[in-house]
């Protein structure tokens, strides 16, 4: 008790120096907490984006993840409705589930044969209702209501493409895309194009005509999607592009096509029983992944063992998530170490000066019978008090600053997104980082106090008394 009282009074004694040291700790704590809150917001935002599109887990045909991109149809899940039912109605899984929805991915060639252009694409057929359910997931309390997927309420032949696809297929003008520039010299480009009769092979044109028979014509945004069926034969679907959406990553934006699941299944499987390449499973909370995954694996090994299936989590499916999180974690670690070192030297310097100034006191206390450990403890408690007070004030200051930033109307475009979002730092509601910062800074201040404290404890008593 007396050690604590002595420490507090000694800190008060040299108020200006104590406040300067305290300020360094406060600034350090604020920097760590604000940057930590900022990276947390990025992580949550990224996670939300991935979970809203690809779920927490995906049930796939075995090896689809490794080899399926070359031939998705060969890795289809047969009787997928049964698989989904088993998952939905499993008593262990059911409480954890928010959405179970199928998706079919396929590769093909999309062509605007009226314009004489085409390109390879990666198309995804999905259930619109399921996709909209996925989009409602908001475990991290982000503001705003997500817009429904662009295919919502569209005709069965509707499609959404990436802006890159729209650009190559010359759909910018019909789709009213302002950011999409027309080719520099259309005349030159068209010179190399064969006449209109040769734009589409006759058999494919017939297939396309058959597909589009009876559907409302929409010549301006119509494209043909050519793909290989599960049997290896070519098939064509005529789709009406209803919207072009920027996919943020150019490589994806240049190949992205989204269409209704039924349309995609008809294209790949024709009259055969339809399959899907993945069943998306979304959970209430990301923390439920291990338990849900274990349960699904158990089901796949028992009830659903009739076909080789496996489970992948969203981090495996989206390596970009791990890379981005790792990148920010590395920066956060670097900043934390830097701040730790600054605090270490600041507090060390303060305590060294205190030891020099209080040498006669040290001699007096030692003469009176205080052990060396008592002297050490006295200075280390002072360091600890600086650390505790500094980190507490830092927490309060960072909460206040976070409030100002979060309500300041500042926006930015985070990685992996195309739209600006409010700049947010998540400090409030995350007690663990605050406790971590407090413990870490207190430990740093105690470590930095230890060397001066040890030096003070080892001072020769006679020399210390003579120091007055």
């Amino acid at each position: 008790m007396m050690t604590l009282a002595l420490a507090i009074r000694n800190l008060e004694r040299n108020r200006r120096r104590s406040l300067t040291t305290l300020a360094a700790i406060v600034v350090g704590a604020v920097a760590i907490l604000l940057f930590g809150g900022y990276t947390r917001d990025i992580r949550y935002g990224l996670q939300m984006g991935f979970v809203r599109t690809s779920g927490h887990l995906q049930i796939q045909h075995k090896d689809y993840f490794l080899y399926g991109s070359g031939d998705p149809a060969a890795y289809g899940i047969a009787d997928y409705e049964h698989v989904m039912n088993v998952v939905r109605h499993d008593p262990v899984l059911a409480p954890m589930l928010t959405v179970v929805t199928p998706t079919l991915q396929l590769g093909g060639i999309a062509g605007n044969f009226d314009a004489g252009v085409s390109r390879t694409v990666l198309a995804t057929g999905s259930d619109v209702a399921g996709q909209n359910e996925l989009r409602r997931w908001n475990d991290f309390g982000f503001s705003g209501t997500p817009a429904p997927v662009a295919l919502t309420g569209t005709a069965p032949t509707a499609a959404v493409v990436g802006e890159g696809v729209a650009r190559v297929l010359q759909l910018c003008r019909p789709l009213g895309l302002r950011s999409c520039a027309a080719p520099e010299d259309p005349a030159t480009r068209s010179a190399g194009i064969a006449d209109a009769d040769n734009r589409l092979p006759a058999d494919l044109a017939a297939l396309s005509a058959e597909e589009s028979a009876g559907r409302p014509s929409h010549p301006d945004t119509r494209i043909e999607l050519l793909a290989a069926t599960a049997r290896g034969a070519p098939n064509v679907a005529t789709l009406t592009v209803v919207k072009a959406e920027n996919q943020a990553v150019k490589e994806l934006d240049d190949v992205y096509v989204a269409l209704h699941l039924a349309q995609a299944q008809r294209l790949i499987y024709g009259a055969d029983p339809p399959q899907v390449t993945a069943i998306i499973v979304q959970l209430h909370h990301t923390s439920q992944i291990p338990a849900a995954r274990a349960r699904i694996e158990r089901l796949l090994a028992t009830t659903l063992r009739s076909q080789p299936l496996e489970v992948q989590d969203f981090e495996t499916l989206n390596p970009y998530y791990g890379q981005t999180v790792g990148f920010f974690a590395a920066i956060f670690g670097f900043i934390s170490i830097l701040i730790g070192v600054i605090v270490l030297f600041t507090v060390g310097n303060t305590m060294s000066m205190a030891v020099v100034e209080r040498t006669p006191e040290i001699g007096t206390l030692r003469a009176m019978g205080l052990r060396r450990s008592g002297i050490r403890g006295m200075f280390m408690v002072e360091g600890m008090l600086l650390g505790v007070a500094g980190s507490l004030l830092g927490i309060v200051a960072s909460l206040a600053l976070a409030f100002v930033i979060n309500h300041g109307g500042i926006t930015w475009t985070p990685p992996g997104r195309t739209d600006a979002v409010p700049l947010a730092v998540r400090v409030w509601g995350a007690p663990a980082p605050m406790v971590d910062v407090m413990i870490a800074l207190t430990l740093v201040t105690m470590v930095s106090s230890w060397i001066p404290a040890r030096r003070g404890a080892r001072i020769n008593i006679v020399a210390a008394l003579r120091h007055a």
Partner: protein, 263 residues
């Protein structure tokens, strides 16, 4: 907490030597000193500057160690004690009064007096009772809440005396306790120490060349160039040789300005 009446034990120095080395220069501060400090007496160590009296006081106070010789302080052989054991020994057996008072500036007068009691593990009630009693004894009850910076030099030295005696030590070491005070305050401090020594039945060793201190002492040790030049014990002046092992016994009413007369 040792709160029994102190056992009268003398301090004995046998062939004590101490040499300081400053670079390549050796300075022999004490040369084979033999001395007995009688218990329950005020012993003054006098001598010119650089004679070795502070070194002698530091050795008796167990805050320095001799190079050679045997040292018994308050009846305890201290030469082989570890640093922690020596600290504990000082806490429970010794009190210190310094020339510059050396009060802890961030503690009040009361807390300064209470501090040695904390070191000895006294309970809160014991600490309070004893600290207030000691402040009362030195006439500073009204200043208990004052910090050293709010007290005069004489008041600070009174607090220091109260602090030195708070834990009922066997021996109090005072290094030039009047040097930083004017003659009036110095005389008051000498009188106070003399009185407290009798009331608390404690041995006091005062290192000083202040004539008031020397006059008030029972025994006076004069040291010069690291040698003991003379030892005058109370009673010598009355023509009565006092065996060194015999403690001082004071006549009631005998105060500063004269040595206590043997019974």
């Amino acid at each position: 907490m040792r709160f029994v009446r102190p056992i009268r034990r003398s301090s004995v120095l046998t062939q004590i030597s101490k040499t300081y080395r400053i670079g390549s220069v050796e300075l022999q501060a004490l040369r084979a000193i033999d001395l007995e400090i009688r218990s329950n007496c005020v012993t003054a160590i006098a001598g010119p500057s650089g004679s070795g009296k502070t070194t002698l006081l530091n050795l008796i106070g167990c805050i320095d160690r001799p190079d050679t010789g045997e040292l018994v302080v308050a009846g305890r052989q201290v030469g082989t004690l570890s640093d922690d054991a020596l600290s504990d020994f000082r806490a429970s057996n010794l009190g210190f009064v310094f020339q510059s008072f050396n009060l802890i500036p961030v503690l009040t007068a009361y807390e300064n007096v209470e501090y040695p009691l904390r070191l000895n593990g006294a309970s809160a009630a014991q600490r309070r009772e004893r600290a207030l009693a000691m402040l009362d004894a030195v006439g500073l009850s009204a200043h208990a809440r004052h910090r050293p910076g709010e007290l005069s030099g004489g008041q600070q030295q009174r607090v220091a005396i109260a602090r030195a005696l708070a834990a009922r030590p066997r021996l109090v070491l005072a290094d030039e306790p009047t040097a930083n005070l004017d003659s009036q305050a110095g005389a008051a401090i000498v009188e106070l120490m003399r009185r407290m020594q009798r009331e608390q039945e404690v041995s006091i060793v005062i290192c000083s060349h202040d004539p008031q201190v020397i006059a008030a002492a029972d025994d006076t040790v004069v040291i010069c160039d690291g040698h003991i030049e003379s030892v005058r014990r109370a009673g010598d002046t009355l023509g009565m040789r006092i065996p060194s092992a015999q403690p001082c016994v004071h006549v009631a009413g005998s105060l500063a300005g004269g040595a206590g007369a043997p019974s």
